[in-house]
């Protein structure tokens, strides 16, 4: 019994070590990944992350440099070096040293290419880090798009690749195309994500809905109102069907997501009455789950107010804008950026009812909030 327990513990230790030292092996490939043998790197890398988390960036940099030096002795074939450069990129990013961060992320890609080849599935990890840097830090979507294209192509080349991963990557690439206004390129990718999900033996409803809503959002931006409505309505129908089985808060929130999408589509397509109905329904659910003062109400109240404004129901519209503003000011603060879209919409109403002075005051407040938050 004792011997069996020892073997079991040893097995657990081996499995744990393997999983810790692996480089994101959620995708398998025919080419074996080099074995990682040098002890101590894990500890240095983890200490570096922890130091960064504890606010000690210099210490984090030192741990990371030590980890790099340690690996320098084993040569650049070691995949841990890839991770170390990625980590250094993160540290530089936190320190606002963007040039150094970019160099580190790029270096991790180059080392990985040399080590395992350009099309190896594990290439995705450093490419993704570089893309993430361009996405959130430099906000350069063109560069993100080309890196996401590369990731999508790598996954597409893997024989018998995971459809779920392919769908996720297709959607992510489509999202960036959509941000760049390249709608015609985004559409087939969203459709592909949807088709891949539908193809599954038991399609994941949550995935179906998210891809349908992404497609709906694209069509709305593209001005294809009917297609947008069709996609969002299909998503809502899936959620409503599911709600018959479970009516907990999560399934109600799932419905809210679809109603909000429909409300937005109708608002953008000059179908204000339908928008009003969608937002009213969504509002009631949120009030029930989160209460009548939740900041979560604000976007729905603003949408509803705009739908009413477009129907010339100005008094009702104004009341909703004021409530939305009040909730946000109390819940998130007077200078919260969430207030800006409410003020802008409210200002539109003021212009419509010939109160240019009030509109100007509202818009000047948006300027001061922007200035405050961008400083």
């Amino acid at each position: 019994m004792k011997k069996n327990q020892t073997i079991l513990i040893l097995l657990i230790v081996i499995v744990t070590i393997s999983s810790v030292t692996g480089l994101g092996l959620w995708l398998r490939s025919s080419k074996p990944v080099p074995v990682e043998a040098t002890p101590g790197w894990e500890q240095l890398a983890a200490s570096s992350v922890l130091a960064l988390k504890a606010g000690k960036a210099k210490e984090a940099e030192e741990f990371c440099t030590r980890a790099m030096k340690m690996l320098g002795e084993t040569g650049t074939e070691d995949l841990r070096l890839v991770k170390t450069y990625m980590l250094m990129g993160e540290i530089y990013r936190w320190e606002n040293k963007f040039n150094l961060a970019e160099q580190s992320f790029k270096k991790s890609v180059i080392i990985c290419e040399k080590s395992i080849g350009k099309d190896h599935p594990d290439m995705i990890i450093p490419i993704e880090s570089l893309a993430n840097f361009y996405y959130y830090t430099l906000i350069d979507y063109d560069k993100v798009a080309s890196l996401y294209e590369r990731i999508f192509n790598i996954i597409g080349k893997i024989s018998g690749s995971d459809n779920n991963q392919l769908a996720i990557r297709a959607r992510n690439l489509a999202d960036v195309y959509s941000l760049l206004g390249r709608y015609a390129q985004a559409e087939p990718l969203y459709k592909q994500a949807l088709a891949l999900t539908e193809k599954a033996m038991v399609p994941n409803e949550s995935d179906l809905v998210q891809y349908l809503l992404s497609l709906a959002d694209l069509y709305q931006k593209w001005g294809k109102c009917n297609l947008a409505e069709l996609s969002a309505k299909r998503a809502l129908a899936i959620r409503e069907m599911k709600q018959k089985e479970s009516s907990g808060p999560d399934s109600q929130l799932d419905i809210v997501v679809c109603l909000d999408a429909l409300g937005k589509i109708y608002l953008g397509c000059n179908r204000s009455k339908e928008s009003e109905l969608s937002y009213s329904r969504s509002l009631k659910i949120i009030e029930k789950i989160w209460g009548i003062n939740s900041p979560d109400l604000a976007t729905r109240l603003t949408g509803l107010a705009s739908a009413l404004r477009n129907q010339h129901k100005y008094v009702q519209a104004e009341a909703h804008y004021i409530r939305s503003l009040s909730i946000l000011e109390k819940g998130l603060g007077y200078n919260s950026s969430e207030i800006i879209p409410v003020l802008e919409q409210y200002a539109e109403l003021m212009k419509l009812i010939n109160k240019p002075k009030e509109a100007k005051t509202l818009l000047s407040r948006t300027d001061s909030i922007r200035a405050f938050n961008n400083n």
């Binding site: 994101g24 990625m86 320190e95 929130l253 938050n373």
Partner: protein
């Protein structure tokens, strides 16, 4: 007369020096400190000031107890300056924790910041970040795995990616909030359901403010209360 002149000159020099110096605000509380890495334990929680980053201004942390705490600070420019937080240890596997949640209520100041949970699993193997209120351009690590996922009463966009040897799961709430119940167990079940981990030990749950800037004005970030429960 000469003595008076010396005193007057000393006062002028002293006040000129004072103008250039950034002075932390005095805070009346059970504990307070302006030390960059000050920490204080009370009632099963540890509170950290955690100030870093080039160009960080001043920051004073205070606490009445382990769950009612805050910082008064002044920061400017880009880049995260600090992550003042309070931490609760759990050290239980997810399977042996049938329920686990946190209620929090905060009043953040103005500026660029996020109110964030940081949950650590299997030592430093896994990290779950839950972004409850995000102001500014900083984003999660990794790639978007799923959008608009309703989990534990909140709707999130879910990201996953590596940071060094750590796998980071980021749950970014689709809208901002300052007071809520958070169902950690529901989040852990979601991660387990995706096959991203297998019954890890959850070590500690941190909650605090990641502050980038306060527009160079003095701001208060307050955690009015926090309570944790698990089974």
């Amino acid at each position: 007369m000469k003595k008076l002149l010396v005193i007057t000159l000393s006062c002028i020099i002293f006040s000129a020096c004072q103008k250039e110096e950034v002075t932390p605000k005095e805070v009346k509380a059970a504990w307070s400190s302006s030390d960059k890495f000050a920490k204080w334990s009370n009632g099963g929680y540890t509170i950290y000031n955690n100030v870093w980053g080039s160009g960080a201004g001043w920051q004073t942390i205070w606490a009445n107890n382990g769950t009612n705490w805050g910082v008064t600070c002044q920061h400017s420019g880009g880049g995260i300056k600090s992550y003042p937080n309070n931490e609760k240890w759990l050290n239980k596997t997810t399977n042996n924790t049938p329920w686990c949640g946190t209620w929090f209520d905060v009043t953040p100041g103005s500026g660029a910041f996020s109110s964030t949970f940081d949950v650590w699993g299997n030592g430093q193997q896994y990290e779950i970040m839950m972004w409850m209120n995000k102001q500014g351009a900083i984003g999660p690590i990794g790639s978007l795995q799923a959008s608009n996922q309703s989990i534990g009463g909140h709707t999130w966009n879910v990201y996953k990616g590596p940071n060094g040897s750590i796998t980071v799961f980021s749950f970014v709430r689709t809208s901002n909030i300052n007071s809520a119940n958070v169902d950690h167990k529901a989040i852990w079940n979601y991660i387990q359901g995706k096959g991203w981990w297998n019954n890890p030990t959850i070590n500690n749950i941190q909650f605090g403010f990641e502050i980038t800037n306060t527009n160079n004005t003095t701001q208060n970030f307050t955690c009015n209360g926090r309570s944790d429960w698990n089974g």
